[in-house]
Symmetry: C2
Subunit: 214 residues, 2 copies
């Protein structure tokens, strides 16, 4: 509070007026793009600045260190992705058949492997890095837990007799399918294989909303 002699403009956290907030957001978006297509190994402050179209010096004003920036980028990603998952499952109701649910999930994965590929790769970069950084691990755990609760509700709606386990299985299958097909361009036959796997999983788990409910 009272630091008389200091002329240091650097605060712990910038005040973030409207004007500044736009720039901060642009930096985080740029960072997510760079992480997605060059990896955390290829992530440099200079690369972010170039991607965002800003001078290098600008980054130091909004983020104390590179690690802070990475953490905030991950938080932004999870917030955004949670919304997307929520929206994807909002349409899945108790009137749907197993195949409808499978189709929803197939579209979800297909989107991640094509239009949103950069974002998906960034996501896994974060998840792996979370193995080594407690701050990222906290975000990762919270996000994963929120996801499992959401999917658990959906499973429940679809007549699961063990929603928690089914949520774990579904989340794992989706994550596994994503990872396993990240190194390959997504051709139609691959999409079909993903659809088949999802249909079988959902059918065998007995997830269909048209079942009788108590």
């Amino acid at each position: 509070m009272s630091r008389p002699g200091g002329s240091a403009p650097q605060r712990d956290t910038p005040v973030l007026t409207e004007r500044g907030g736009v720039r901060k957001a642009a930096i985080l978006e740029a960072a997510l793009r760079v992480i997605g297509d060059k990896g955390l190994a290829g992530l440099s402050m200079r690369a972010i600045a170039t991607e965002a179209g800003l001078p290098l010096g600008a980054l130091g004003y909004y983020f104390k260190t590179k690690d802070d920036l990475i953490l905030e980028a991950f938080e932004l990603h999870t917030r955004r992705e949670a919304d997307r998952v929520l929206a994807a499952f909002a349409g899945v109701g108790s009137g749907d058949h197993a195949d409808d649910v499978a189709e929803h999930l197939t579209a979800f994965i297909r989107h991640g492997l094509t239009e949103a590929r950069t974002s998906l790769v960034a996501e896994y970069e974060f998840l792996i890095e979370a193995t080594r950084r407690p701050d990222l691990a906290r975000v990762s755990r919270a996000w994963r837990q929120a996801l499992q609760i959401q999917v658990g509700h959906v499973a429940s709606r679809l007549g699961s007799d063990d929603p928690e386990t089914d949520a774990e299985i579904l989340l794992s299958v989706v994550a596994g399918l994503e990872i396993d097909h990240l190194s390959t361009p997504l051709d139609p036959s691959t999409t079909q294989a993903i659809r088949t796997a999802l249909r079988r999983t959902i059918t065998r788990l007995g997830l269909r909303g048209d079942a009788e409910r108590p």
Copy 2:
């Protein structure tokens, strides 16, 4: 062949006598360890040299570039891991029940998340990097294909009516469970959750060797 003036000792590939091979292997092992606990972002030639207990200059003799080294490390890892998977499934016979199979897989995952955690993290580092490097992508695809064939045979032995799809589902579930639990220390309740998910998956897929076979 005939490069008269050149005194360059650097070949495309060193001849690798017994003497040299030991060192090369030590370098690759060191690289795998460093990738596992500092990530590809934290991987430097100096870090590898230190981990291997060798001078920095030694690395240049066996690997033309850092990227070459990473590729060979990945190849080594997939070779080793393929053997491990093969061994893990060698014990799964048509006499096993669904719970036996689940127990095998649970132990497999538990081992990866504890004793072999470094190796598992390195594996996912490679898989993500393969998104950006065609040479790594080739290795990744070949490995994944070999895995699927192996697991498909096992599924077949266990009475699957669609071994290929079941292999894809099983591999995805295992990969997903690994990733989802990498950021968390593996406590007993987590192990139990993994076991439950695997049991349910295998049971619902109808994978049990004691079923009648043609």
